[in-house]
Every structure is written in structure tokens, then in C-alpha cells.
């Protein structure tokens, strides 16, 4: 608000100077006062006006002193005097940017609402069309005022509902879709009669649920993805058990049992990923901190994946600093980070490729890199891979894990350690994941 003061001070100065120069006559006083206001407006304009929504329009600011007219009526005034809500007058509400008192009133409030508000007055003309409505329907509120709704928003469903509300005098809420130049939008629209706006007055409240629906779609997709991931091994296990029950020879039994064990492991891993993520996201993760030798954790993680690397004909190597590197961390969680990164690297690297784990100290940070010479990640996808459930190519990923949780877990764990993780990749050439962890993590008493 401190920008107001120069304006007020300037106005006061002009008034004082004016009085001193020509003390005679009310006429002079009037002119002086007008000048004072004009100067005030000018200063206001130059200093950018008061910083509040709707207060930045210099023309509107200047209009007050120039005309000396009372503030334009706001929504409230329109509402209490229907006669004033003349068709086409279009002066009420809706993005009222006037720097007068009214803007701080109801019109300003309506304009600041996050839901679209449209009021139709006499003759079905738009009286109020707030900024949110403008965003939703892609029209400027200035253009909308005083027009018929169908001229501004071509949506047959909305048109029908408004007509029904006028006809039946009843309030109604419905979900409708709206075509825009981009994708279609999903809206929830409430129409209610509002006689105060004149005969046939209608209030329309619109909320945009497009984003919510997108999130719902993500959730639905995830549930179906997880169900699929669980059902596949479950079906296999069920078939194998049934076969075992019907009696098979010893060799086949051995084979079945080991397959069952493998499938079960896979399901447990998936369920654990899910539980981990749920814990991580609800903030209930407890880090059991201790001094951990990063090199040791890497060696173990690499050893655990060696057989798999050999089977996939991938060279798996470890480059560790000779002097050893310690961090304060949760050992199990750190090894999970490495397991997830190695799992991805091996899965996306074709035979003959390399996967390399490298750790080194960088000042008071410990860096762990997992690099591969695999398929790489398209640059458009790179920004999203750490999001939960994100899978670059769902069709291809349906193989082993493919739920898109691995990297989300990595990110959570690393950030819980006050570290950061990033990825670099070139399509067809390979990827590199880089984790940076503080070497001496200090956890405040109340935990993370």
C-alpha cells in the first residue's frame, strides 16, 4: 500500500499551494481540488497504482477525478435495483478494474473468485462475467458484457439448461463438456434463477473439473495397471498349483516350484513398492540413520545383480574411490535406490552394453552415478520419469515391472536424505542417473 502515500502527499501539496496562491472563491478551490486529484491520479499512475487486483488500470484510476462521478455501481447495487440492470448497460461486476471504491466491493470479490460466475439480467443479457468465466470460456469479460450468452459461449447444453432454469424457476447442477480450440473441457455448471437481476435473471456458476478428471484418469489407469501386474503372476501361480495337484513327475515339480517362488517374489516386490511409496508419500518414512560406506552398498547392489547382467550379456562394473566414502544415511533405503536404478539400467540395456556404477566425493557431497549404454529416454519424457506411475512406453514396459514406481521411490528416498537426483539421457546412446547426497546429514530432532 505504500505507493498510495506519494500520491496523497502530492495531492496535499497541490491543495496547500493552491490555497496559498488564490485564497478567494470556492470556484478556485474546486479547480484546485480537481487539480489535486488529477495530480494524485497521475502520481498513482506513475508509481503503478495500489497493488491489489483490479487496481492496475491507469485509465480507470484517472477516470475518477476527471469525471468526478460516483463510483460505478457494483454487483450489489445492480442486484438490489433491478430497474438499474438495464439490458445491455453492461456496467456491473465482471472484471471491474476501476480503481474506485466499488472495485473493493462485491464486483472485485466476484472477479477474484476461482469459479466462473455469469449473471444474466433482463433480456438474457450478460450483466456479470467474471475473470474465471473468461478463462474457462476463452473470452474477455469486456467483450461478454451486455451480450446474449449464446453470442459469447456457444454450448448447446448450457444454453438448454439456462432456458430450463428460466422456464421452471428451479436450480439445477450438471456436468457438461465444452469444446474449445484445444481439448474439450469438463465443467460442472449450476444454474439458478435470480429474480433480483430482473425478469428472467439467471446466475450461472461454472467450475472447471478438467484437471480433476485427468487425475482420476491417472488413478484409474494405475489401478488397472497394478491389477494387471498382480493378476498375471497370480494366474500363472494358480495354473501351476493346479497342475501340481493333478500330479506331475519330479523334474516338472521342481521346475514349477521354482517358477512359483519366482512369481511370488515378483508380487511381493510390487506390493512392497506400493507400500513404500504410500509410506513415503504420507511422510511416515523413518530413516534409520547411521554411517554408511557408499562403496560397500554399491558393491553389494552390483553383486546382487551380477547373475542377471550375465544372463543379459551386459557388462556390469563398479568404479569406487580408493579411500572409501562415507555418508550419514539409512543403509537399507540407500541400497534400495541403487537396486532400483540398476534394475532400470539392466532392463533398458541390450546385450553387449555396459552398466557402470560410479561414486565419488564432490566437496561435502557424495555422488552416486548409474550409467548405461542402453536405449536412452526421449527428451520429452525425461522431465516426467520421476513422477509416480510414469512409464515411457507402457506397451514395451509391460514386461517385468512397468508400474512406473521405481524412480518415484528413488526420488523420495534421496530427497528424504536432503539430497537430489537427476537424469541425463540421449536416445539410442544411453542414460545416466546422478544422486547427490550430503555426507554429513544432520536430522533435526523432530525428524523429517
Amino acid at each position: 500500500m505504500n505507493r498510495v502515500w506519494p500520491a496523497v502527499a502530492a495531492a496535499a501539496l497541490v491543495v496547500v499551494a493552491g490555497l496559498a496562491a488564490s485564497p478567494r472563491g470556492a470556484l478556485h478551490l474546486g479547480i484546485v481540488a480537481a487539480c489535486a486529484l488529477a495530480v494524485a491520479a497521475l502520481v498513482w499512475t506513475v508509481t503503478g497504482g495500489v497493488e491489489r487486483p483490479g487496481g492496475r488500470d491507469p485509465q480507470a484510476a484517472a477516470a475518477v477525478p476527471r469525471s468526478g462521478a460516483p463510483p460505478a455501481p457494483d454487483v450489489l447495487q445492480t442486484a438490489v435495483s433491478p430497474a438499474a440492470a438495464d439490458a445491455g448497460s453492461g456496467r456491473a461486476g465482471g472484471n471491474t478494474r476501476g480503481a474506485n471504491g466499488a472495485a473493493l466491493g462485491l464486483a472485485g470479490i466476484v472477479d477474484a473468485l476461482p469459479v466462473g460466475v455469469i449473471a444474466l439480467g433482463a433480456g438474457g443479457r450478460i450483466d456479470v462475467f467474471n475473470a474465471a468465466a473468461g478463462d474457462i470460456f476463452g473470452v474477455s469479460p469486456e467483450r461478454a458484457r451486455g451480450r446474449a450468452l449464446i453470442e459469447i459461449v456457444r454450448n448447446s447444453e448450457l444454453d438448454r439448461r439456462v432456458a430450463a432454469t428460466i422456464r421452471e424457476g428451479a436450480r439445477d447442477t450438471a456436468a457438461i463438456t465444452h469444446l474449445t480450440s484445444g481439448a474439450e473441457r469438463h465443467l460442472v455448471v449450476t444454474t439458478l434463477p435470480h429474480p433480483a437481476l430482473g425478469p428472467g435473471g439467471v446466475l450461472i456458476i461454472v467450475s472447471d473439473t478438467t484437471r480433476v478428471r485427468e487425475l482420476e484418469a491417472v488413478r484409474r489407469e494405475f489401478v488397472s495397471n497394478v491389477s494387471h501386474e498382480l493378476r498375471t503372476p497370480l494366474t500363472a501361480v494358480k495354473l501351476m498349483v493346479e497342475t501340481l495337484q493333478s500330479g506331475v513327475d519330479k523334474a516338472a515339480r521342481e521346475q514349477f516350484l521354482s517358477s512359483i517362488a519366482q512369481e511370488t517374489e515378483r508380487m511381493i516386490a510390487l506390493v512392497e513398492d506400493l507400500l513404500d511409496l504410500a509410506r513415503l508419500e504420507s511422510g511416515k518414512l523413518e530413516l534409520r540413520l547411521g554411517r554408511v560406506d557408499v562403496g560397500e552398498v554399491c558393491r553389494q547392489a552390483v553383486r546382487a545383480q551380477e547373475a542377471r547382467a550375465q544372463a543379459g550379456e551386459v557388462r556390469l562394473a563398479c568404479e569406487l574411490p580408493a579411500e572409501g566414502l562415507e555418508v550419514t544415511a539409512d543403509r537399507d533405503k540407500l541400497s534400495q535406490v541403487l537396486t532400483n536404478l540398476l534394475d532400470n539400467a539392466l532392463r533398458h540395456t541390450p546385450p553387449g552394453g555396459n552398466v557402470t556404477v560410479r561414486t565419488y566425493a564432490d566437496g561435502d557431497t557424495a555422488v552416486i552415478e548409474v550409467a548405461d549404454t542402453g536405449s536412452g529416454i526421449p527428451s520429452t519424457a525425461l522431465a516426467h520419469i520421476f513422477e509416480r506411475f510414469y512409464v515411457v512406453d507402457p506397451a514395451r514396459a509391460r514386461g517385468r515391472s512397468g508400474t512406473g514406481l521405481g524412480l518415484a521411490i528413488v526420488k523420495h528416498i534421496v530427497e528424504a536424505h536432503r539430497g537430489s537426483v537427476s537424469a541425463e539421457s540421449e536416445l539410442g546412446a544411453g542414460s545416466r542417473f546422478i544422486c547427490r547426497l550430503p555426507r554429513d546429514l544432520q536430522i533435526p530432532a523432530h525428524g523429517l
Binding site: E151, R154, N155, S156, L179, S181
Partner: protein
């Protein structure tokens, strides 16, 4: 009918034209959607909704004729009425094409699936954009906008040519796909026509606002053109005999 009444009815009629426009716009969007998702129920819905479009058409026409007959409208009002009488013909045709596309969706329900060429949805988006802008130009009496819309017709024609040749090649490679591919060619043709009708609407808007009749640029794709060039279109995929 007093002067005031005249203007009220004129206003209402203009709004009805936009109402009809919104129904037609939505019908096309749904028709294309139903086609890409093979949604027969949605296609049926479009066919049913067409009755309402026709009702509006009749209502608008009656009102326009009444306005003409009972009053002697002044020049600019006269042009608006004349323009509306033309515009609803174009809108009606566009609505029919939406129904044609819906009918094709129904016909194809039992045909083997064929992925439509990627350019087909692009073409649909472009044609819809032209219609939307034409109607916006009418709603706001915006001649400047009406002048710009027909420029997009070239893009629609270009896409049409690509879709056409792609589908022809498809049929040449796999005779089993002929049923489906030829139906998709019809869809492309309807979309191309929708773009042309949108151009017509823009011409009427320009006339309504500026008072001078004007033919805006438009290129009609001739079917024969492709028959003449079909060898050329097919050649890339005629494999050399070994």
C-alpha cells in the same frame, strides 16, 4: 409488429443461428469422436439430434421471412436477414455431413479395424476450427476475422490430398481393406466440404458487415483430379518384380 418488436425478433433470430451453430459444431466433434472410437451408441445419438437442428432451421427461416415480409428492413438489417438465410443452409449441410460421418461409423462397426490415417483427425480439427471461427465472426459481426478464416482452407485441402493418397495406397496393398478405406475417404471428403461451407459462412458475414458481396478464396478439390493421378499415387508402392 412494432419497430421494437422487430429488433427483438431480429436479435432472437441471430441468437438462434448461433444456437444452431453450436449444435452443428458439437455434432461434428461427436461424429469424429464416435468414428475414432467406433462408438455406435454415440453415432446413433448424433443421428437423433439432427431433428432438433432441422427444427431450428425451420424456425429461423420462418422468422427471417416474417421479418422481411412484415417490415421493410433497412439496409443493414436487410443484409443481416439475407445473410442468416444463407448461413443456415450451410449449417444445415454441415449438420448433414456430421450425420453422414455418424452413419459411416455405424456401417463400419462390423468391418475389420483399420487405423485411420493420422492426418484425418488433424483435418477434422482444422475443419472444426474454421467453423468455430466463422461462427465467432458472425456472433461478433467481425469482418476482419471472416476474411482470415478461408485462408485455412488450403491446409485442409493439403491434408485431404494426403489422406486420400494414403487410403488409396492402402486399398492397393490390401483389397480386404477396401470397404473401410473407401468409407474413410468419404469422411475426408465430408470434412473438406465442411471447411468449404465454413468459408461460405465467412463470405456471408463479410457481406453482412461490409455490404459488399465478396467471393473469398477457396479451392475445391476435385475427385477427378485424383482419378487422373491415381497411377502416380499408387506407384511408390508397386514393388518392382523380381
Amino acid at each position: 409488429m412494432g419497430r421494437e418488436n422487430f429488433h427483438r425478433i431480429l436479435d432472437e433470430t441471430q441468437q438462434n443461428v448461433l444456437r444452431m451453430g453450436s449444435l452443428v459444431e458439437e455434432a461434428i466433434a461427436k461424429a469424429v469422436d464416435a468414428l475414432t472410437r467406433s462408438d455406435v451408441a454415440l453415432a446413433e445419438e448424433i443421428l437423433k439430434a439432427d431433428d432438433y437442428i432441422d427444427d431450428l432451421n425451420v424456425l429461423i427461416e420462418t422468422n427471417c421471412l416474417n421479418l422481411l415480409a412484415l417490415q421493410q428492413p433497412m439496409a443493414s438489417d436487410l443484409r443481416t436477414i439475407a445473410a442468416m438465410l444463407d448461413i443456415i443452409i450451410d449449417l444445415e449441410r454441415i449438420g448433414d455431413h456430421a450425420c453422414d460421418i455418424a452413419q459411416i461409423t455405424k456401417n463400419l462397426a462390423n468391418e475389420p479395424l483399420l487405423r485411420p490415417p493420422v492426418d484425418l483427425p488433424l483435418m477434422a480439427a482444422k475443419a472444426r476450427e474454421m467453423l468455430r471461427e466463422a461462427l465467432d465472426a458472425f456472433a461478433h459481426h467481425d469482418a476482419e476475422m471472416a476474411h482470415k478464416v478461408p485462408e485455412k482452407d488450403d491446409e485442409v485441402d493439403r491434408l485431404y490430398r494426403r489422406v486420400f493418397s494414403e487410403l488409396i495406397q492402402f486399398m492397393a496393398k490390401d483389397p480386404k481393406a477396401i470397404g473401410r478405406a473407401s468409407n474413410l475417404i468419404l469422411v475426408a471428403l465430408y470434412l473438406e466440404r465442411i471447411a468449404d461451407h465454413s468459408t461460405n459462412i465467412c463470405e456471408r458475414v463479410v457481406y453482412m458487415v461490409e455490404g459488399v458481396p465478396k467471393k473469398l478464396k477457396r479451392s475445391v478439390v476435385e475427385f477427378n483430379e485424383f482419378i487422373a493421378h491415381s497411377d502416380e499415387i499408387l506407384s511408390p508402392h508397386t514393388e518392382p518384380a523380381t
